[in-house]
Structures are given as C-alpha cells and as structure tokens.
C-alpha cells in the first residue's frame, strides 16, 4: 500500500512513521511536504506528530490551513483513510475533520512515557486487527493531549461508537490514575462518524519493534493495511 506521511515545518515524528511503515511493515511510504496540493497515488495519509509551525497560536491551528491539508480534506471527504498521531490528532481537530479539541494536560506537565490503551471497538479501519481484550502498550509524548468536547459531542461520540481508544491501567481498568492528561472519559483516540478519519495522542509508530519496548503499535498500522486490502476505500488519485 502507498502511504503519504505529511511534513510540516517542525513535524518530528514523520521519520518514525516512515521507518515503521517501510522497514517494519514493508509498505511503500513517502514524505509529502506541506506545500503540496496533491496526495498523488496515496492509499492512506498519516498526519504525524511534532510541533507543526512551532505550535504557534494553538497546536495544529496553522497547519490546518496549509495547502496539503486542503488535499487531505478532499481525500477524507471521499472516504480516504487518514490517521493523525499526536500533533496530527490536534491538526485534524483544528481542521474540523474530528470533533473536540486537545488542551493543556491537567498537571501542566509534558508526559513522555508508556501507557496502556483499551481498544473500545474493532469496528473501524484502524482497529480491525486488534485482538479482543488486547491492551496496547504504547508511548505518549505530549503537553497538550487532554481531550475536551462538550457534553453533546461526547454523547454523540459514544452513541456512534466513535471512541476507539481509552487510557487504562495494566489490567484494563479505566481509572483516573491511568489517565495521563485529564482527557474526558479517558479518551486517547477517536474517529469521525464515517470512520475513515482517526486521531490519537499515543504514538503507535514508535512502538513497532520489541527493541523499542513494545511492538503493540503494529496492530493499529496493520489494521489500516488490512482495511485497505479488504475493502474498496477511496484512493487519492
């Protein structure tokens, strides 16, 4: 499959994503500069982590207006698969492709650690390969990852089964202690109503090899590959 990994000024997880996709999962993956106006032949788009445009104004606020994001919006509107990781999640919420917002962690600290994720549903192109009851051990690295949405939006996310991952402890319990940033409902990742756009704060691309402490992130990337192989999903070209 052909993955496009966006590059904004100050993206810094783009290389990790390319490495995981190319070297670990054997996929075709290329960088796509923020000034590009076309996604080419991409089957899926990764909006990587980092500090796009220096996180000026708000995280993701400026990246959403870049030329490449206009192409990503059109791609998403046609049903193309888009995964936003960390800063990529922030960009997708700012762009209105995902609901809610990511605000400052409740303890004002930057958290860089492994956490556990409970997958709420396997009914999505981003979770379909994750075994039932499998907790994912994946790193986070963010200062502004506290998921916020108003009550109406949260109710809608729940009703439509759009919450994909929640922070939990090593036994799968959704506790407040296991919530690293104060996210409402322990939300770590969501998808849109159509289920083709997803964002999460944890970094699956940094957890694809045992050498890195965990390879649980592969389940998420492999889900995307499986979804692309099994279904007719819109292509960029």
């Amino acid at each position: 499959m052909n993955f496009a990994v966006l590059q904004f000024p100050a993206s810094n997880c783009d290389q990790d994503a390319i490495h995981a996709l190319r070297d670990v999962l054997g996929q075709s993956a290329r960088y796509l500069w923020h000034k590009e106006t076309s996604l080419g032949d991409a089957d899926a788009v990764i909006v990587p982590g980092g500090f796009s445009y220096g996180d000026y104004l708000r995280c993701g606020a400026i990246a959403r207006f870049s030329p490449v994001m206009q192409a990503v919006k059109q791609f998403a509107d046609r049903g193309g698969l888009v995964l936003g990781i960390c800063n990529g999640f922030q960009v997708l919420t700012e762009a209105g492709l995902l609901s809610g917002a990511l605000i400052r962690n409740r303890d004002l600290q930057f958290h860089c650690e492994h956490i556990f994720l409970k997958t709420v549903t396997t009914d999505s192109p981003f979770t379909n390969k994750i075994p039932a009851d499998k907790l994912l051990k994946i790193p986070i690295a963010h200062g502004e990852g506290c998921y916020f949405a108003d009550e109406e939006t949260l109710a809608k996310l729940k009703a439509n089964n759009q919450i994909l991952w929640q922070y939990c402890d090593a036994n799968g319990n959704l506790t407040d202690t296991a919530n690293p940033n104060g996210s409402l409902l322990n939300i770590a990742g969501i998808c849109n109503e159509r289920r083709n756009v997803t964002g999460l704060m944890p970094h699956p691309e940094r957890a694809c090899e045992p050498l890195l402490g965990s390879d649980d992130g592969k389940w998420i990337l492999e889900s995307i590959i499986a979804a692309l192989e099994n279904k007719t999903i819109a292509k960029a070209a």
Binding site: R58, A61, A101, I103, R104, R106, D107, L108, F148, D150
Partner: protein, 79 residues
C-alpha cells in the same frame, strides 16, 4: 486602526494554568482571589478606514482561526 483581541478559555473547559496561578497568588498571601483565567491577547494593526468592515473581517478571523470556538471565547475591540 488597531484591533485588540482577548481570547479566554470557555467556562466549561478545565484551565489548569488559571488554577495554578490562582493557587500561587493565594500562597503569596493575596486574599479573595476566586478564579484566574489565563488566555491570550493579540494586537492587530490595520490599514483600513472602515471600522465596520474591519470588524466583520476580524470577527470571521477570530471565529475561524484566531480562537477555537470549541474551547475558547474571544472579545474583539477596534479603536
């Protein structure tokens, strides 16, 4: 012409910065501080003669870009 924009977190949004500043003020001995809200202040210099059209333009910019309506409120003043 100059526009002044104040952006503050919505009341329903947790504001850990505001809480921390409030606690620090209390520790310094300041009394009666009920709450602190930390936001942003922008000054925009404009080359425009028409105050109303400048307001319309900046109102749209505030709503679409300068603030995030999901988490923030803004006040726009033009002088």
């Amino acid at each position: 012409m100059k526009a002044k924009i104040v952006i503050t977190p919505k009341k329903a949004v947790v504001d850990p910065q505001g809480k921390t500043v409030r606690n620090a003020l209390e520790q310094m001995g300041h009394q009666g501080i009920k709450a602190v809200h930390v936001g942003k202040y922008l000054e925009i210099e404009l080359d425009s003669a028409d105050k109303e059209s400048a307001r319309r333009q900046l109102d749209e910019a505030c709503h679409r870009f300068l603030s995030n309506p999901v988490i923030e409120d803004y006040k726009l003043e033009i002088e």
